[in-house]
Every structure is written in C-alpha cells, then in structure tokens.
Amino acid sequence: MPEVNTETVATSPESVAQHLAASRYLADDSLATAIFLAIRLGKPLLLEGAPGVGKTEAAKAIAELLGRDLVRLQCYEGIDAAHALYEWNYQRQLLAIRHAGEHEIDIYDDRFLIARPLLQVLKAPQQRVLLVDEIDRSDHEFEALLLEFLSDFQISIPERGTIRAEAQPIVILTSNRTRELAEALRRRCVYHWIGYPDAEREAAIIMLRAGDVAEGTARAVAAAVQTIRARPLAKPPGIAEAVEWANAATILEKGGSPWPEAFRRAIGVLIKDEEDLSYIAPELGRIVEEALA
C-alpha cells in the first residue's frame, strides 16, 4: 500500500470526503470534517453510533486513504494492559535464566517483550492507524489506562521506562454507547456521532459496496430499509445488512424469482432476529412493493 502524505490528503474536509469515496467509503460533510480535524489536530477520533452504521469501516477507509497499516484492538470486558499494551514472555525469561547459569542476563531485554497492539503502534517506524474497537465494552480501568497513550502517545513500562511513538499514530476509537465513556476520554478526542444515512446516501453506499446490483434495486432496498428501521425493532438493520440484502435479492432474481418475491425470500440477511422477523413479516410485502414503486 503506497503511503500518502497526510498533508496532501487532508487539505480540507471536501478532499477527505473525495479520498474516502475513492476508498469506497461515502462520508457525509460532518464525518469528513471530523476526520479532517482529527488528522490535522493530531487528536484521536471517537466515533459513536448504533451498531452497523459503519464506524469500523470508517477506520478501515481512513487507513486505506492514508496508505497506512491498520492495527486493530478489539475491546471486551476484562481487557487489561497485558492484552492491549505489552506482556513479558515468561517462558523465555525462565529458560534464559536457566541457560545463563552464573552469567548475568537482562530478563527485561527487548527479546522478552511481547508487543501488544498499542506498543506495536508506538514502536512501528512508520505511522500506523490504530483502531480501538468498541471501547464501551471495556471496563473503566482500561479506559483510564488508555489516557496516557491517547494524550501523549506514550506508554510507561516500569522495567524499561517510557516508550514514545516514533511516528505519531492516527487513532480511531469506536463505541456503541452501551455505557457512558469517561469525560477525560471524550475530552482528548475529536468526536463524531454517526447516524444512519438518508435513503439517497444509503442507495449510493449500496451501489458502491454491493457487487452487481442495479441502481433501481439499490434505491428500493434503501427505501425499504428506511421504513423497516423506523419500526421498533430489537435489532435495526445496519448498512452492511442492507448491502447484503440487495446482493442476496439480486442473486435470487437472477435465479428466477420475480422481484417482490426475491426481496421477501432474502429477508433473512437483513433481519437477523427471529422476533423482529415475525413482527415485520405481515407488513413486508407492502413495504417492498412501496419501495419498488
């Protein structure tokens, strides 16, 4: 992947949006502005929004647009320093102690240090894009642990001292907002709330992402998905599901199913909750027909 100079890509929010579109990610003005500001201010970008609105995809698109490697740290309940920052390779340390015999050895040498995503990013000679995914799943302690990294791009290892970034990484955090994040974390970041796109933008995203979908199909899917999302569902469908639905319906249609029927039969890729399915089923025919009209 050819590395791109951030200054040339991030000259304005518009140029960011254009470059993202070239990486097959359609960002609205607001998101493009937030990304532009995060890059130019050198601050982490915190993206919040419902599941499936494209937060993780945004991070991947940013990495692609800058031609940088993406390092992903998936958060979960109980994640701690050993999983995120670094860990010592204890087995190797023990072996080294045994082999050394009477000789002096440094068991806190680099060869015993296992770099986890955050340390990998700091030690990389080239700038990396770091994705801290679903930060809201981690505990408060972990959030606090991240603060040093996020404000100064450094990590303190007691046995080794402080390690600073060789090239300041671009950091993207995502959250589904299942819990409130600490003010200290929000303060350090450029913030953006990603909502569901409007029908027109969603149709454009479907055209861009799906393999072989006609424009009419994309529009119909986008319109139907908007209506379905307006219902009180347990799991409203995300953008990725809409793309899959368009794809699946197209495949079924090529296999011989007529239009409204193809949509109905492919509904399983859009709605993945049995209860939601039975809720929407009686209305589905009408929703699809209205969308196709």
């Binding site: 929010p13 201010l41 109980g78 701690d80 340390q93 589904n176 409130e180 450029v190 209860e275």
Partner: protein
Amino acid sequence: MPSAAAPFLGFGRLLRRYGFAIAPEQVSSFMQAVTLLGPLSMADIREAALATLAPPPDRRDEFEAHFQSHFYGNTSAVAERDAEEEIRIKDDGGADDERIEAEQRQEGGELSSALEQLSRRDFLRDNDRLTVFRRQLSSALPARRSFRTVRTPSRGKLDLRRSLREIVSADGDVPSPLLRRRQTVPRKLLILIDVSGSMKLHTSDYLKLAHAAVQGADRAEIFTFGTRLTRITTALRIRDREQALARAAAQVDDWDGGTRMGPTLLAFLSVPRFSAFARGAAIVILSDALERGDHAELETAMRRLSARAFRLSLATPLAGDPRFQPATAALRAILPDLDDLVDGSSVNSLTDFILSLARSAPAAETIWKRVS
C-alpha cells in the same frame, strides 16, 4: 487575546453554564478547528463545535439550541427545545458522591413526618429485616465467572508473571509456584419499581428495599416506571435512608399515575446504556402488571428483557392472596417469559425471594400451571 476569539470562548462558557462538561483544552481545540476550516460558513463553525466540544448524543438538540442562540441570536430555539417526548426518560446521571456527602452533613435527621411516626412499629420490624438483607445480599446473588483471575492456594493455572518475580527475587531458586483462577463475581441486580396508582400502598416499602439493595450489592440499578421511566440509583447511593428516599422521591415525576408498562419497558430497552445493564443480570420487576388495553408492547418488552436477563422475575402484591391466579390477559401473555412470578406484598416475602435468586427454581409457567 484577539477580539475574534471572544465568541468562541463565550460559547464554551455558555455551555458550561448549562451543565455541559467542557474542558479549557476543548475550547482551544474548537478555536484551532475553526482556524483550520477557514471558516467558509457558519456550518463550518457548527461542525467544528460538534467535533471538538463533543456534546453527548442525548443532549444534541439542546446543544444545537444553544448554538443557535449564541451565534445567531435565536433565543426561541432554547425555549422550544423542551417538547414532550412520548416517554420521558430521566437519568439522574453520575452525580458526584462528594456533593451528596456534603448535603448529608447539612441536613442530617431533619426529615421525619407524622406519617412515619404512625407506622413506626411495623417499620422497625422491617428495618431489622432490611439490615439483614443488605448484609447478605452480595453473597446471596447468583454469581458468574469473571474474565479476571484471582490468586488461589490450589486448583488453578500457573501464574507465570508472579512466579517469575519470585524466582528472580530468590536468585533463581524455584519456590512454590503461584496459582490463579478465574474469579466469580455476583451478577448485576436490576430492580424496576412500578410507581403507578394501583401500587400506591407498596411503593414506599419497595423504595426502602431498593435502597437496601443499592447499599448491599456491588452493582445494582434501580428504575421506577409508571407513565415515565426514571433512574434513581444515584439517589439511593446516599447511605442515610431518609435522605436517599427523599431525593429519589423528588426525582420521580409520575407518582401514583397510570401505568404504561409496555412502552416504558421498551423505552428502557432502547437506551443502549440501560439495556446493556440488563444483559446477564437478575431482573426483578415489582408491579401488579395491570396493563390496560392492548398488551402487545408489554409482551414484546418482556420477551426482550427475558432474552437479555440471567433471570427475570415479577413480584406482584396480588400474589399475596392465596386465591391469586395469573388470569389477566397481560399476565397470561408474559408468563412464558418469566422465570418467577412471586408474592411481592411484603418486605418479608420480597427479601426472602431476592436472597434466594441464586438457587434454581422451576419456571413460573410450570408452577402456575400446576396450581391452576
């Protein structure tokens, strides 16, 4: 400071005045962002403000109104903002405990009414029971295995990190290895209290119980519902019961009104932060479940809650009567989703029930089928 910077600084100040947590560095980022963007239009300034001042999503409308009033002089926007939503959700947020402590010292022991004096005898008996309940709660709640590990003298995995430290400090000698195993932690306890008119007789007992639960359990959340949904956990964290209840009472706006159990529970589920709390929790709903009219929403809400919860229980005061049967259409519809349908008519029965949550019991449906 250049005079052009004044409106931006002023906006930060204005937001702080309305309770937004805005740090000085956020205001300076805001100004830097505005400089970076040109700005070509007011839209740029708005985008810069949103990105750097980071208003919480549920206060976006309020933020928008302040932006309008500050930069456009459109003050009517602020007034219009308070439009009534279908179900009002009130969250007492993370009020700081320090402030609570301070008030506690100031007000101590002034709240005692004639009504309380009258019911004093019964109150004392309940009091003892609640004290026992509070002490036993944390160890009585159902437990789950945590991802974290604790040191253990036997039956665990080798903790290489700490063992290595021991070896190094003992100059390479191998002392007995240290072991760790996964910790068990009590599950979360979520209590939803119906404060509608039909529950009037019981709400004060329920609130006392909820206070004891918050004081006793590591992670307990309390909500009240009637026509609205209100989170009162923070208020109940005050140790002094009278003060905690007075504060909680002040927060709830829908005392003794009607019940819209289905819609309020759906509103609860629609806030990701709240519904995340329900996941894997022991959920106890204190209500008579007398839903008027259509109960389809209640059914949906209970099904979703039950799918998230470790155990979903409904304690109704009606079950205190031996002739009680889950005969209403709403109760019959939600019975398959309930793990327990128990007597909620007294502090006694409720504390006994909550302390028994860790013990397995046959599903509510099988019990009530056998009875009827």
